[in-house]
């Protein structure tokens, strides 16, 4: 119902809603996923979202201003006057988080690592969205044997451990390790291949659900081109679940990148700072009681994934009326009678349930097994 303020909202048999028109259209930015969710969130759910946003913003800022924050370069092992850094030195004034076995400054590498992580996320997510959404649209709309083949392939790729797939891709693309952009691109593409099926499945399921609805039929009757139907009618209406998947996938992308680095299939240390690689080097340190080389890059991974996951979780909960925090005890959550009269609560309340994307790796099966009160709430389309 988020976009429903532009036109009328209708549920058969419910006359109250037919008068529900909002006089002034809302500003466009207020309808953006996170902004909108910030407005409808309450209580600790809002706190979760805000904390997630703050952490993520922090890392983005660190990534942008890494050259200003980090005292040394990520591959620097000598100070400006040519003196080599000590190796495995405990935290001190010169090296506030100590140095690694290779003589790198832990603090600098952790800061620079944020940049690598953010770039990798952006590359991975953008690529997989474009590929996955396109394939999902085509597959869902046209059906036929292309659809069947794509589904089987996507399912096969999807069921396979993503990290292993990413390793295989990384080896194929870069032969194991490579330069800065080569390495980031290789990791990004490896991660992409793994996540395309997720976008593909989500978009395809939505497209199949929507394509038989009346407004698509009427668009066809009116003579709209296939392209127009796909972009205007299907794409716009099937992207509602994307913000959730996008955030959750970003966090998985970081973990995959770190996993690649940890196993030694990531980015070369001289090409860019990468937390997974640093952790790989610190395995031996830990047994010797050297904690600083492991703890700081590790905490960085935990924090950034935590931040992004908190956002994703909140978006997921807010999209699902059954999970949205209740404003007061006794309020029936998710029924249209309650949510529609309250303008702050109204947007979003018909969001199709994002079937706990995180937890249910296979939304389709999880959906079937539960009674989702979709029909009773009415499906509202804006075209």
């Amino acid at each position: 119902m988020s976009e429903s303020n532009e036109t009328t909202v209708g549920v058969p048999g419910d006359t109250r809603l037919e008068h529900l028109q909002i006089s002034k259209p809302e500003a466009r930015w207020r309808k953006l996923p996170i902004v909108r969710d910030l407005r409808i969130a309450v209580g600790w759910q809002k706190a979760m979202l805000v904390v997630g946003l703050v952490i993520t913003a922090f890392f983005v800022l660190v990534a942008i201003f890494a050259p200003l924050i980090a005292p040394y370069g990520y591959a620097q092992i000598k100070s400006a006057d040519g003196v080599a850094f000590p190796t495995q030195a405990p935290p001190s004034r010169e090296h506030i988080w100590g140095t690694t076995v290779g003589g790198f400054d832990v603090f600098s590498r952790t800061v620079w690592g944020a940049r690598t992580a953010v770039i990798a996320i952006v590359v991975a997510v953008l690529l997989s969205i474009f590929a996955g959404v396109f394939l999902g649209l085509v597959s869902g709309y046209f059906g036929g044997w292309v659809d069947r083949v794509l589904v089987v392939v996507a399912d096969a790729v999807y069921s396979f451990p993503s990290l292993l797939l990413a390793i295989l891709m990384a080896i194929m693309i870069s032969g194991g390790q490579s330069s800065l952009w080569g390495g980031i691109l290789a990791s990004g593409i490896s991660i992409t291949v793994v996540y395309i099926p997720q976008y593909f499945r989500t978009i395809r399921a939505e497209v199949i659900r929507i394509k038989d609805s009346a407004y698509v039929e009427s668009a066809k009757v009116v003579g709209a081109s296939t392209w127009r139907i796909m972009t205007k009618h299907l794409l716009k209406n099937s992207t509602r679940t994307l913000p959730v998947i996008l955030t959750l996938n970003s966090s998985e992308a970081i973990l995959t990148l770190a996993g690649l680095g940890f196993l030694g299939f990531g980015i070369e240390p001289t090409a860019a700072a990468e937390w997974g690689y640093d952790l790989n080097r610190s395995v031996a340190d830990v047994t010797a009681g050297i904690w600083w080389t492991a703890v700081f890059p590790g905490l960085a991974i935990v924090l950034i994934v935590l931040g992004i996951t908190l956002i994703g979780e909140s978006l997921n909960d807010l999209a699902d009326p059954r999970l949205r925090a209740r404003k007061s005890a006794g309020e029936v959550v998710g029924s249209i009678e309650d949510t529609s009269v309250d303008p702050t609560e109204r947007p979003n309340s018909d969001e199709p349930v994002v079937e706990e994307f995180m937890t249910s790796q296979d939304p389709q099966i999880a959906v079937v097994s539960r009674d989702v009160p979709d029909e009773s709430r009415g499906v509202i389309n804006d075209d």
């Binding site: 292993l164 295989l168 080896i171 830990v286 047994t287 009681g289 703890v295 991974i301 935990v302 296979d362």
Partner: protein, 364 residues
Amino acid sequence: MSSTTDAGAAPTGAKAGGAHRNRLSAGFFRFIIGRFLLIIPTVFILVTIVFFVMRATGDPISAAMGGRLTPDELQRRVHEAGYDRPLIVQYGEYLGGILRGDLGTTLTDNQPVISVLTRYGAATLELAVLALIVALVIGIGFGRLAAKYRDRATDAGVRFFAILCYATPVFFLGLVLKLVFSVGLGILPSSGRSSLQSEMQFSRLVSPTGLYIVDALQLGDIRVLGDVLMHAVLPALALGLLTAGVFIRLVRTNVISTYNTGYIEAARSRGVSEKRLMSKHAWRPALIPIITVMGMQIALLLAGAVLTETTFEWKGLGFMLSNYLKARDFVAVQGIVILIAIIVSVVNFIVDVISALIDPRVRY
């Protein structure tokens, strides 16, 4: 077949009536066959992808021995092994080999791939089972707790813990556990599957299973068993907590959504106690999606096993896979990947059958 179906259905779908049961066996049989046949394309696709991806980087011998042989020698060995023939011919031959159950011999240490799989597979199986136990205990316990105290501090705390479990890379968690328990407190060993003495004890066994816990029981030596268990605690905890994060969320969401249904409300109004509501009324229906998704976590668990085994030098399939990948031993990698693909597909098959048994609507 229909009799086994009924036997399987009895404990899970006890509420199904006799008439329903009859309908179940006919359509169900077809569903199982159809679903089982789906395993074949899944494994086939993955085998194909892996084969061509690996070959895209060159032939196995050049990749594995590249720097160590003269070009002529390399050429000769490549030719001997038949790696200079057209890719499609090699692919056909490889598929033929798989069908005969022959996965080839590893390039680096010249062992039959099958024996590598059985030897190291046992170690991974042991780790996975232990981790699953940890994940189930924590996941179900905390998940139900969070659902019960929904939207309250307990819930928030548990959910935060779940997200933290998920957000912590398993290798970092492993390192932290090592720092605390083996370096800091010095109470648990930091790596390996057992101490040297235990390994020597195991070599006396006539038929070792490779599952050290079982082997230790075979020996009947309480010290060996204790040693093996001590070694298993940290890896199982690390891998288990990773999976537990997903389980907690899963259990919580599903219990909450069954709590919202009418029959729970009805039961509550009849005066059924809250405790009984949770354990009898809400829990069983919530189990369906939980089982489904848990089965799917096998992929996460296996990927996690690669990282956990590397962190703790737990010599299982994941540890070996990582080593073989580094040595570019493609034959070994392909063998391990095929095994993983089969495991994942079979588990998914079983999960689908179970959810179909519990919920007839799943039968698409």
